[in-house]
């Protein structure tokens, strides 16, 4: 198991470096002087020509592309992602305050999708080719087909504007930032994000459960006199979780894609909303910082998938 994880880790780290090269290439493509992204705007405007030249030398901007890349990368890995072109604040700080809301939205969204996908997938597998199975298939196809922003608009139309049950903007009322209020704000975005991701998960659970339910050990459990509930949950489902958990972990980046859209519609102050507004306002340094963060998220999700795979399967765990 150790060797497997070390191998996977080294591959992922290698991939991460390749991606930083790609990101740096994009940085290089940005219009304007790259130094503007790496020192605060007020220093840039007020600083003397000598000061700028000195900074330029410090940042390696006079050197070859390789030197520039190396400086940029080491700074980035030390948490120095430059400064926002918009307001001169450090990018790390600007991004940092957006991570919390996004993690909150993704976490609850993931929970919702699992709560939809697991029971539905298990039921569909148990009653294959029943109306329930077809219904679940159609719902899952619907959840991948109907774009999340359109679902969001309909939901806002119905639940915010018609019934006025849930708010559709922001993370909480500035006047009443209580936990309950935050949860109230979280309901619609999390439900939509969860629904949008439940489709693929459900199909995975279903096909994995179909495989497991026809396995020999299920017949053994039946032959022991185990009741159906126990056969399905204790035996088949526990085995089907091995591939399913891996898929869920490696799907976390896709969950973020959904969050980007939902944050935009619901004015949710997370990374996705920041990214879209930075793109619209040409705040390149923030976009690049966001790109690095995504690369790290992808790397972490892949590693998490690998670790989960080794943890949940005793056959791998003890090898």
């Amino acid at each position: 198991m150790g060797a497997f994880l070390v191998r996977r880790l080294s591959i992922n780290v290698l991939v991460f470096f390749l991606i930083t090269i790609a990101i740096f290439a994009l940085v290089h493509k940005t219009p304007g002087d790259p130094i503007a992204m790496q020192i605060p705007a007020d220093q840039l405007n007020s600083g003397s020509a000598e000061f700028i030249a000195q900074k330029r030398a410090e940042l390696g901007l006079d050197g070859s592309l390789l030197t520039q890349y190396w400086h940029w990368l080491t700074n980035a890995l030390h948490g120095d992602l430059g400064y926002s072109l918009l307001n001169g604040r450090p990018v790390t700080e600007v991004l940092g305050e957006r991570v919390g809301p996004t993690v909150e939205l993704m976490g609850v969204g993931l929970l919702v999708s699992v709560l939809i996908a697991f029971p539905l997938g298990i039921l569909a597998a148990r009653r294959r080719n029943s109306w329930l199975d077809y219904g679940a298939t159609v719902v899952s196809l619907g959840s991948v087909s109907v774009p999340v922003f359109f679902v969001a608009l309909i939901v806002i139309y119905v639940f915010t504007l018609k019934f006025q049950w849930f708010p559709s903007s922001g993370i909480s009322d500035p006047t009443n930032p209580s936990l309950l209020n935050t949860l109230h704000h979280l309901v619609l975005p999390a439900l939509i994000l969860g629904f949008g991701n439940s489709g693929p998960f459900m199909r995975y659970v279903r096909s994995s459960m179909i495989t497991e339910l026809s396995a020999d050990y299920v017949r053994t459990a039946n032959a022991k006199g185990a009741p159906p509930r126990r056969v399905v949950l204790r035996h088949a489902f526990r085995n089907s979780l091995i591939p399913v958990l891996t898929v869920i972990a490696s799907n976390l980046p896709q969950l973020l894609a959904g969050a980007v859209v939902i944050e935009q519609v619901f004015a949710w102050p997370g990374m996705g909303q920041l990214a879209v507004s930075s793109v619209n306002q040409h705040d390149y340094s923030v976009i690049v910082g966001f790109a690095l963060l995504i690369a790290i998220l992808v790397l972490m999700s892949n590693l998490l998938a690998d670790v989960l795979y080794t943890v949940v399967d005793p056959r791998v765990r003890l090898r």
Binding site: A215, R219, T220, N222, K224, G225, P227, P314, R315
Partner: protein, 364 residues
């Protein structure tokens, strides 16, 4: 279907001409070994007129047709046949362990006088793993890969406890594993199936099957997936387990060597039907069906040169489209015109013996 077939006449254990069904079971004095010699006793298990159909894309497959057999307490009955002969399907239908696609019909599947088909789900679960234990062919796939051996053996105990006592069940699991010869059971209960060798896994399967002191053990090819050296050990263990629990055993196998070693009585199946039944001694001495004879000829023996082995020519029939008449006729050395059109009924050919061959007399 031929006109002369009478339901019930094809019973594997056709008693004397007029005796009440089941009364004499297959236990005619002198014909069967000691365990079966309990005249007048009701059989432990009685399967009567069992048919199982599978609906597939290629049409209906008659996996088992009109099979009847009886098992009395304490005896070992072997069901023998090639793969696809319906022997496993017959055994699985007892505890209703067939997939949903299987359509089972029977006049009776009675265990200790109760028809198992009338039981509710929860009543049936009391029988499964309780008075009837099962051992499956491949111990690698038949054990749950993500549960420890101990948890799986203990589960078999807990499910049949009057009051759930997990600690006691766990101790019982250790004790059972010791009983079936798993070394250092207190440690090995904590291991997973992949940490057990094939033979050890099959021992664990046997431990699960005998966990609740069964009256009947159904063993489906219990040694087929094992190495030859391990096979002998597991067979010895099966023998021991059977002797200690006194459980009757249905032994499903294609290996006549195992039959000779363990069985009291033999039921030979071909193409979903019973073609011959006999006590093990008689069957080996004077097979009365050409298929049985062919099986015996293909069996390596100490007193015969290996190069004289004589496998049955041809392949088992396609069960979606079996041959007309006697299903064995395309491979039968005795086949004549009659065999192509008329399916021979299973008839009593002596005390406790039956055969489904038009020319069984010629083999006598």
């Amino acid at each position: 279907m031929t006109a002369e077939q009478i339901p019930g006449a094809a019973a594997a254990s056709v008693p004397g001409a007029a005796s009440a069904p089941g009364a004499a079971a297959a236990s005619v004095p002198g014909a069967a070994p000691a365990a079966a010699q309990r005249v007048g006793e009701a059989p432990l298990l009685r399967i009567d007129g069992l048919s199982v159909d599978f609906h597939t894309d290629d049409g209906v497959v008659h996996a088992v047709t009109d099979v009847s057999l009886e098992v009395v307490a304490g005896e070992i009955v072997a069901i023998v046949g090639e793969s696809g002969s319906g022997k496993t399907v017959t055994a699985m239908s007892v505890l209703r362990l067939l997939p949903k696609a299987a359509e089972v019909s029977a006049d009776a599947i009675a265990f200790r006088g109760t028809d198992l088909r009338t039981l509710s789900g929860s009543e049936l679960r009391k029988v499964r793993g309780g008075p009837v234990g099962m051992i499956f062919q491949d111990p690698m796939t038949a054990l749950n890969p993500v549960m420890t051996i101990g948890a799986q053996v203990a589960e078999a105990v807990v499910l049949h406890q009057a009051r759930s006592d997990k600690k006691a069940a766990w101790q019982r699991a250790v004790e059972l594993l010791r009983l079936v010869g798993v070394p250092d059971p207190a440690e090995r209960v904590k291991q997973y199936p992949h940490e057990f060798s094939g033979g050890m896994r099959q021992r664990a399967m046997i431990a699960m099957a005998i966990a609740n002191d069964p009256d009947l053990i159904i063993a489906d090819e219990p040694t087929t997936a094992l190495d030859v050296t391990i096979q002998a050990q597991v067979l010895a263990l099966l023998k021991k387990a059977q002797a200690e629990t006194g459980a009757a055993t249905i032994l499903i196998t294609h290996d006549l060597g195992i039959v000779a070693e363990l069985a009291d009585r033999v039921v030979v199946m071909y193409a979903g039907r019973v073609v011959e039944t006999a006590g093990v001694g008689e069957l080996f001495a004077t097979p009365r069906h050409p298929y049985t004879k062919g099986l015996l000829a293909s069996l390596p023996r100490m007193d015969v040169d290996v190069d004289q082995l004589d496998p049955i020519p041809g392949n088992p029939p396609n069960m979606a489209d079996p041959p007309a008449g006697c299903a064995f006729h395309p491979r039968c050395p005795l086949a004549r015109d009659k065999c192509l059109t008329d399916r021979p009924p299973l008839l009593a050919i002596g005390a406790g013996r039956t055969s489904a061959c038009h020319f069984s007399e010629e083999l006598a």
